[in-house]
């Protein structure tokens, strides 16, 4: 029976099937744990304690969540335009370069009120620039964006190694890092903010960028579902031909979508560079771009889903550290493996359970609705 044409009610489509996919991914995660001789239940306990239980755990969890929201949104917005942006990794990296360059240039002269918006814009702009080229090549030269963004990840990495080792390195230092930026560029961390109101909280890298990320979710939602541009984006993503008939120029949409996507990925630098490290370092973005793909797939490319998926990956990242501490067989690489499984089941095999769900639905559906 071909079930792909049978429509399901929304709650089955957007709640039940995604949950089944995640359960499948977690089932295999449990199997892996059994193979390496770890009790999965015990592991989950450590994971949750690491993510929430101890002082500062939650702060770190939300810090990671912030990064995943940015890269998840980046993947999602490109996805709605029918593009698969694997280049979040490189775009985030170059976004950091943008913020870093502007700070190295200006941080001694301007006040925080100017530096922070300029830094955010620079990060977004450089990220957008790094995505613009693959986007333009896709739109006007027909080069596939998947391949070009992969290549651009490697080019970004080579470029950053060169710049950090040879140009931006702090003189007289061995490790390839830039100098610290002035405090005027620092985005306030939550323990400082709460300290002003008299709360005493453990120092964590969790900073105000988190709320900026939530704001971005809101704007992305408005953009995709409540503006003409978003309509153009979704139309071109669904059917290029239909878009052309509707007077939409798909090429323009592709370039715009890639630029927005790159800008969002570039904002990772706001959280990491401006919020925590306060200097440019090697591989500060490592893994966030790829996790963004898992986040977006899991969150079904919707901002609300992305926030929830980001939180889950934040828990995994932070809890994974605690887990590694408690159980020596497990390192953070376990989290990478879980990511792989989630990309597989929530992405590539997203429709695997659908025929079963359809059959179950047809069986239990009240008779009166049968031909509705």
């Amino acid at each position: 029976m071909n079930t792909s044409n049978i429509e399901l009610p929304a709650w089955l489509e957007i709640v039940v099937i995604p949950i089944l996919n995640i359960i499948a991914a977690l089932f295999f995660t449990g199997l892996i744990m059994l193979v390496i001789g770890v009790n999965p239940v015990e592991a989950v306990g450590h994971l949750l304690r690491g993510a929430f239980g101890y002082e500062g755990g939650l702060g770190y969890t939300l810090y990671y969540t912030t990064n995943y929201i940015f890269t998840g949104l980046a993947v999602a917005i490109a996805f709605h335009a029918g593009l698969f942006n694997i280049g979040g990794e490189g775009q985030a990296y170059i976004g950091g370069l943008g913020a870093g360059l502007i700070f190295l240039l200006l941080d001694q002269y301007l006040p925080a009120i100017l530096l922070i918006p300029i830094g955010i814009m620079a990060a977004g702009f450089f990220g957008a620039l790094w995505a613009f080229i693959p986007g333009w090549l896709q739109a006007y030269r027909g080069s596939h964006v998947v391949i070009t963004t992969i290549m651009f990840n490697f080019i970004a990495s080579a470029l950053m190694v060169y710049l950090l080792v040879n140009v931006l390195i702090m003189p007289g230092q061995m490790s390839p890092e830039s100098r610290y930026f002035s405090e005027a560029t620092w985005i306030p961390q939550m323990h400082e903010v709460l300290g002003v109101f008299g709360f005493k909280v453990t120092r964590t890298p969790f900073n105000l960028s988190f709320f900026f990320a939530l704001l971005c979710c809101f704007f992305v939602w408005i953009y995709i579902w409540r503006t003409r541009w978003g309509y153009d984006l979704r139309t071109a993503g669904n059917s290029e031909e239909a878009a052309v008939y509707a007077g939409i120029r798909p090429r323009k949409v592709i370039v715009t979508a890639m630029c927005l996507s790159g800008a969002l990925a570039g904002l990772v630098a706001v959280n990491v560079i401006m919020g925590e490290s306060h200097r440019l370092l090697l591989n500060f973005q490592l893994g966030y771009g790829f996790t963004g793909i898992a986040v977006s797939l899991m969150g079904r490319n919707h901002p609300v889903g992305i926030i929830m998926a980001s939180l889950l990956f934040g828990v995994l990242s932070q809890g994974g550290l605690e887990l590694a501490f408690e159980i020596p067989q497990i390192t953070r690489d376990m989290v990478v493996a879980i990511q792989g499984l989630i990309i597989l089941f929530s992405g590539a095999l997203a429709l695997m359970f659908r025929p079963w769900v359809v059959r179950a639905y047809l069986k239990f559906k009240p008779l009166g609705e049968q031909h509705a």
Binding site: N2, I32, V35, I36, G37, F84, I86, L137, R141, G142, S143, H144, V146, I147, T148, I150, M151, F152, F154, I155, A158, L159, V161, Y162, N166, F290, I293, A294, L297, Q329, I330, T331, D333, M334, V335, V336, A337, I338, Q339, G340, L341, I343, L344, G347, A348, L349, A350, L351, M352
Partner: protein, 343 residues
Amino acid sequence: MPDWLLAIFNVLDDALLPTMDATLRVSTPLILCAMAGLFSERSGIVDISLEGKMLAAAFAAGSVAAVSGSPVLSLLAAIMVSVSLAMVHGFASITHRGDQVVSGLAINVLASGLTVVLGIAWFRQGGQTPSLDSSARFMPIDLPFVEAAQSIPFFGRLYSEVLSGHNLLVYVGFAAVWLTWWVVYRTRFGLRLRAVGENPLAVDTAGLSVGKLRFSALVICGLLCGIAGTYLAIAQNAAFVKDMTAGQGYIALAALIFGKWRPLAALLACLMFGFLDAIAIRLQGVNVDFSLSLFGNVWPIKGEVPVQLIQSLPYVLTVVLLAGFIGRAIAPAAIGVPFSKER
């Protein structure tokens, strides 16, 4: 022989031969993976998971070699693991018509995490497998008449120092190119393979199973990636190391595209990318200091060679090629599109 010719040969001997030797060594995994990708992509399945399959295979080879001490057994294990991953890719993208790029990415991410998790659990060396004795590895073999050829300038040394003295898998890599060419262009299977990547509907109409053909292509793809991974872990190196593929699967994919999905052109692209890599390794930390006179100006060129520039050249060149600025790379027509019988 005139003196000047001997002088040229001497320069070539000292500068070029070691680089060419290194080129062959670093190109081998690229060649094997590019051929693997060729089978998959010619059948219409995008394969960005060359990297993950090679990594998982390298881990399997390193682990089995550490336990059993047998290179042949390790090779078989590596192939088995790599083919299984290819089957996962097939299950997702052929059986369930999932997104091929997403599926490939999943395999890459999964392999990069799982190899380390299992490595730490089994060997407790931080994700590495134990170092191997030479008996557990594929060791260099000398081709015949190496001694005799040594005395002939350049060509003799080309034979004895560049072509000879590699391990078996290097030669397997080159044989794979010829074999790939033969299978793809000279056999019935090859014809069908190409057809299914260009127009699966026609193949289906002719009464052949699109899925079966694509699955067979993926089996071959997995097999070749398995050999590539084995090469990395137990031939070129003496153990599996965390993330040891380091993007070579992607470079192989770039070479495949650069070679316009043809075996011989892809081989040349692999050799070129390998050569760039070998040069980059040789120039690491080398300082240059000379001046270049151009258009009446003298440009001083001084400082460390930007090795990263050379290392990123394969990627830059591939982007330029894809952009259609140097020739045009046209992918198989049906690539990336899941086949569905019902229309």
